[in-house]
């Protein structure tokens, strides 16, 4: 028997995807990590080792901004975990109820904000919360809570939380859909078996459904984590590159953009920008690893 011919068609099938993916995604990713070790001195690119990282973590001016952005980013993530995902799960639990009327309508309507761009969402909420237009204060007035109103997006203490809640409003459809899908895949026999044992309604949710959808909740958590730690668009659309007021809404994405491109009088520094990107890469990698090795492998999966 002769040696099998080289199967060129495999190469032809793989080549376009692998080439584009490697050239536009993987190569720039590692190149960015490499650029973080360089700097421009006298119009020349010079290898400076970890100097950019010393600046980023050591120089008070930069370190303050970095830790501020990182802390804000964690708060942003926390709000998503505590508000977006529970609301998504509750909505999905209600929607998956058998013979609920109009379920398809509710599902489609609640998903609408998710399809809108950050620019639309950012500006629409900015207008609605604006003290000039007065929709938010007059609506609060109608239910007698006018004293609670403040120009939230303009106050340092509230702006970040407000933006995080706007982002929650926008993306609640995603956990809702994924959990909904997971709930639908639970066989009726299991629920009926529970019913025979007297487990129904809310307790059926806690005791039967929730353990079964834990893997989906894990996936949603890691998707939220990755999404939040490279977020940028909403903050930029609503507050601009300076992430005002006084950097109180600055997160890693906007910080990297400002550093990389410069703003006002500060010149852009792609190398320092690469260093921030590397830090973001490390954070996301740690998060994904914790999920893959710490959570996913230990989670009990039930064969359905």
């Amino acid at each position: 028997m002769s040696k099998p011919r080289f199967r060129w068609h495999i190469v032809v099938f793989l080549a376009p995807a692998v080439l584009i993916y490697t050239a536009v995604m993987i190569f720039p990713l590692f190149n960015t990590l490499r650029l973080a070790l360089y700097s421009k001195i006298d119009q020349e690119r010079i290898f400076v080792g970890l100097a950019n990282f010393y600046t980023l973590f050591g120089d008070p001016h930069w370190a303050d901004q970095f830790w501020n952005a990182l802390g804000n980013n964690f708060w942003f993530f926390l709000i998503h975990m505590l508000v977006q995902n529970p609301i998504g799960i509750i909505l999905a639990a209600i929607l998956s109820h058998p013979r609920l009327r109009f379920a398809a309508f509710y599902r489609s309507a609640i998903f609408i904000p998710t399809i809108l761009s950050f620019v639309i969402v950012g500006f629409a909420w900015k207008l609605i919360l604006s003290p000039i237009w007065g929709i938010a204060p007059s609506m609060l007035d109608a239910i007698g809570l006018k004293s609670l109103y403040a120009p939230w997006l303009g106050k340092e203490d509230y702006a970040l939380t407000t933006l995080a809640l706007i982002s929650v409003w926008q993306f609640v459809g995603i956990p809702m859909m994924l959990i909904y899908a997971a709930l639908l895949s639970i066989p009726d026999e299991i629920l009926e078996a529970g019913e025979i044992d007297g487990i129904t309604g809310i307790s059926a949710f806690w005791k039967i459904k929730l353990p079964l959808i834990l893997p989906s909740i894990g996936i949603i958590s890691i998707l939220t984590f990755v999404g939040n730690f490279n977020a940028f668009d909403l903050i930029y659309a609503a507050q601009g590159a300076l992430a005002g007021p006084d950097f109180s809404t600055d997160i890693l994405g906007t910080f990297m953009y400002r550093t990389f491109f410069g703003f006002q009088l500060q010149l852009g520094d792609p190398y320092l920008g690469s260093a921030i990107a590397s830090a973001m890469f490390a954070i996301i990698l740690v998060g994904v690893c914790i999920y893959l090795f710490g959570i996913q492998t230990r989670m009990r999966r039930y064969q359905l």
Partner: protein, 279 residues
Amino acid sequence: MNKARSNPLNKVAMHGALILYTLIALFPVFVILINSFKNRKAIFREPLAVPNADTFSMIGYETVMKQGDFFLYFQNSMIVTVVSLTLILLFGAMAAFALSEYRFRGNLIMGLYLALGIMIPIRIGTVAILEMMVATGLVNTLTALILVYTAQGLPLAVFILSEFMRQVSDDLKNAGRIDGLSEYTIFFRLVLPLVRPAMATVAVFNMIPIWNDLWFPLILAPAEETKTLTLGSQVFIGQFVTDWNAVLSALSMAILPVLILYVIFSRQLIRGITSGAVK
């Protein structure tokens, strides 16, 4: 039927909760849309009223049409989205076929290599991407955006499509081989039509993030001729902050195409998400 599962009080509570959340979800969109058709006075006096004969005005839309080149922006967004989606689907399906159909050395490694990009956002590499686009002269071209979005969409596309292609029956493909069809014909004529539902899922997954992206248009193609609709409306609104009619109209014009596409494709989109494609 069990009592707890059909309790009428429960039903009212469930519908109440869903209606409340639906209102929260739709209210901002509704307010923007109705106010874009009102004159300036009515926008401020009665922000929650539907436009009537007295308050109806298209002045905002006229400003937008005069000042911004929204048709060009729309066209750019269309080109970028459609071409990127086509490339993602074609190249993604080809790679998925190679990985799921043939056994060759490095198959597993190649699969893992392509899957890396599912979790790691392409934005991390922005600095080097910009440098590369400057070096190749692709800055401020739609090609730059198309390349980036294609690379961004491929990992998940390959992953989902290869899952589906494993389910295509071997007998069918082998029958084709006995009839003397080439591997290419088998892929394009036999396999592709069978995974069409999975292709639709991949398409709707990628469509929204590409259409709505602000980061890459801002960095790679901010020139007037290559602005996408998302970037175009961002810049326009930034310039017309005080002209409320124009801002509201620009927002509505950015909402409407997406909303119309959503109404057409929502069933497909929701079926795609709930079909368990993301496991």
